[in-house]
Amino acid sequence: MSASKRAAPALRGYVWLLLFLLYLPIGLLFLFSVNANTSLTFPLKGFTFQWYEKLFATPALLHAVGNSLLVAVGSSLVATILGTMIAILLSRFEFRAKGLLTGLATLPLIVPYVVLAVALLVLFRAAGIPLSLVTIGLAHVVVALPYTTLIVFARLVGFDRGLEDAAMDLGATYPRTLLLVLVPIAAPAIASAWITAFTVSFDEFALALFLAGKDPTFPVYLYGQLRFATTLPVMIATAVLLMAASLTLILGAEVIRRRAS
């Protein structure tokens, strides 16, 4: 490609201003996570790591983060498997209910989260299922499904079916063809679908607040702690650490993606 055009100074300035504004609140969070004052106000009182130390000495907090991880891993795995199956159906089969399946799989994008949360609450109450991490996870599967389906579908739809035909002509059964040809073809998309589903679930609050039992995920726990001003710096420290972890995750994903393409 030829050298790209230079951006007009105004445009470049605008982008930098917006990035600055985007990072200002986050920088603020970081600042208060190492500030030696419980109240989040200026002027700053001095540097400390005590909130980070306290974080690791708060079992309930660590437990909640662990719960979030558990729910995110579980729900993203299920959402990725189901989404991949739907994507294979939509891209490789002709059937009458195709429009219906497409509509259903993407419907969660349009249903407001409160409405879905409330509807699932009614279901669990009606079926006598107690609220727990599982009920949160099920909700997360539903909202992640459109993303996983669309990501894998976009990859499969662009690929020639000749490879699968060839595999079957050479005597592979269709399930074997799926596992040995189609899934490897879709692998990069499956990986990015999984990461997307994971991030959708990990920080999700609006559904979790309705569907959490006694055992909270991190956002639900955090929400409960917002009332107590003294624990806020610890919460902020946790969020900073989690952000660092997720950043590592996305950068890792970017590396995988580059290697794949």
Partner: protein
């Protein structure tokens, strides 16, 4: 219409020997259909049924005499209508402002950032991986009476007493949500611009189009599907928002989602809450359909 192509294919398929993939088809479709039915369709139907109940006496699944009482209550109260209108207006404003602010960023990333585009994109998306609740909280720190904005204004002597009017109102909700959605709104616009051949701009320039004319006559029309997608990707989740108003909204910043939440938690009136949820679901679906009519999503996928 593409539907014609499908119709032509089907008889051809039917004449073939039985598809060896038949069993696989059922194995592939069963889990997802069951999951979608159980955890999406059935819950929405149960909620719909609940909205026709007079009260919550007895079992949730017990038979009951359907009544329109909840809907009458919902439609009779002017307050709910006003709140629905406010929510739609807030969502409209948030979606419009985020899309507008995101457009130049997408343009920069698509045509001007060159090889650094990926780095800029990651920079843009990192805030998205920070706890949503804490990003909202951060705006409390920005706008509060002892917050950053007040500290700066007081410190520079522009004001003598802190402004209380920055937080706990509709404006705070809009600012916070715009902040949250800008990175997200950039993505569909960027995707649409990625399909625009940059040489079209050169061609326009060769024909003496000013930069402004290029933008208006070339870039904007070609990226319009992305703009509309961005608008709806922000609008839809914002209509149903209840968390941000809870944290920074105050009384005037309350949204429709908050009363639904109220009726399912503190106020404990599930049938009325269900009716209001149905109203919200209907309104959202209607708006999305109108939107799709206007833009024809096929143009989003095709060139």
């Amino acid at each position: 219409m593409t539907a014609g192509a499908d119709v032509q294919q089907r008889p051809a398929n039917a004449r073939r020997p039985p598809d060896p993939r038949r069993r696989s088809f059922w194995l592939l479709s069963l889990p997802s259909t069951v999951a979608l039915a159980l955890f999406l369709v059935v819950p929405l139907l149960l909620m719909a049924a609940l909205s026709f109940r007079a009260d919550l006496s007895g079992q949730l699944l017990a038979p009951f005499a359907p009544t329109l009482k909840q809907y009458q209550a919902a439609f009779a109260s002017e307050g709910y209508w006003r709140l629905l209108g406010t929510s739609a207006l807030i969502a409209l404003g948030v979606a419009a402002i985020s899309t507008l602010l995101a457009y130049p960023i997408a343009f920069f990333l698509a045509f001007r950032a060159g090889r650094r585009a990926t780095i800029y994109l990651i920079l843009l998306l990192v805030p998205f991986w920070t706890s949503y609740l804490l990003r909202v909280m951060a705006w409390k720190l920005m706008l509060g009476s002892e917050g950053v904005i007040n500290s700066v204004l007081l410190g520079t002597g522009i004001i003598q007493t802190p402004l209380d009017a920055l937080l706990y109102n509709r404006g705070a909700v809009v600012v916070t949500l715009v902040y949250v959605w800008i990175p997200f709104a950039t993505l569909p616009i960027l995707a649409a611009m990625g399909r625009i051949d940059d040489r079209l701009h050169d061609a326009a320039a060769d024909l003496y189009a000013s930069p402004w004319q290029q933008l208006r006559r070339v870039t904007l029309p070609l990226s319009l599907p992305g703009v509309v997608a961005a608008f709806f990707m922000v609008f839809i989740p914002t209509v149903g928002e209840y968390v941000t108003p809870l944290l920074v909204g105050g009384p005037s910043g309350t949204m429709f989602g908050n009363i639904i939440q109220d009726f399912f938690t503190r106020a404990a009136n599930w049938p009325l809450g269900s009716a209001l949820s149905m109203v919200m679901l209907g309104a959202t679906l209607a708006l999305v359909m109108v939107g799709f009519r206007v833009v024809q999503p096929r143009r989003l996928i095709g060139r």
